[in-house]
Subunit: 195 residues, 2 copies
Amino acid sequence: MKLYMSPGSGNAYKVRLLLEMLKVPYEKYNLDTKNKEHKQAPFLAINPRGQMPALEDDGRKFWDSTACLVYVARKHGEGKWLPTDAAGEAEIQQWLALSNNECHYGLQWARNVKLNMKQGSLDEYQGYGTKGLEILEARLKGNDWLALGRPTIADRECYPYVAVSPEGGFDLAKYPAVQAWMKRIEALPGWIKKQ
Amino acid sequence: MKLYMSPGSGNAYKVRLLLEMLKVPYEKYNLDTKNKEHKQAPFLAINPRGQMPALEDDGRKFWDSTACLVYVARKHGEGKWLPTDAAGEAEIQQWLALSNNECHYGLQWARNVKLNMKQGSLDEYQGYGTKGLEILEARLKGNDWLALGRPTIADRECYPYVAVSPEGGFDLAKYPAVQAWMKRIEALPGWIKKQ
């Protein structure tokens, strides 16, 4: 399995975390983002979005971090990280959606504005991100994990952008259940730091 | 099965389309959006986001349109609309991601700005939506369907916001393969108009 990534990509980090935790051997391909390798034809043929991560395995290629997580979890996770029953999978999909919406377009975009990587309305992004943190806090007040009472790709998907959200101006001290959940994730076997 | 929706919600329409196509009996619950019923405590207990759709079945409740689609497809679709093999599910998940990113935050947000339902940068949203349409066009030039060579929830998820994208200032005449794909979807048994 070959992972197209960059050390700084939070979306690639989601996939690396799962690969490490499942002890799946994989080759890292670090894209030369400074020279915009991810925007050039050879990589665009793998991922038309021109973003990280992408995954290559058995001659198949996949783009989008959620799709990569689903692939790895389904192939190597024995159903533990992503079940196939309707209710279990839908429960997990809810949190993948929260990650792809409130986390990405709230937490991450606020951070990108603060770090001068993007223009846009900081107020709007912080408001949307705050809504995401409030929903996570409410869920985690009575639950150790986001779905199914155990670690799943739901946690893996939401964690990275929550972890760096203070750089977007979010105060995690207001969300004690989220903080405790982050510590539980960081204590899982195979957990690695982003860089 | 009970679907919390409004007739105008494109996200609820995605789920209605699949329920109708699979001939799954369901009860419609039309939220009183004029009086903000979807932002009040009883509905927030079902969906903490305060958005449509949500689904209730066998005492379980699910929010988020993708999660609802996954639930219905997994429970009633016999694997046709959402397979369980790693490569097949990941292929579909790529297009669910495109819908949740380029379609939602590009096509839909541009439309919301044009219809005075939202503030923000029309240029940014139109650029992002155009990228989504270009990726769809490239994929559909050589394929009848987005994934697996057959209709799946990938098509169901992307279709609604593409269909109304002209209201966001997008010219679908530039995307003939997308237009042909829309006609194929509209010819599927059980297809219904949004309203």
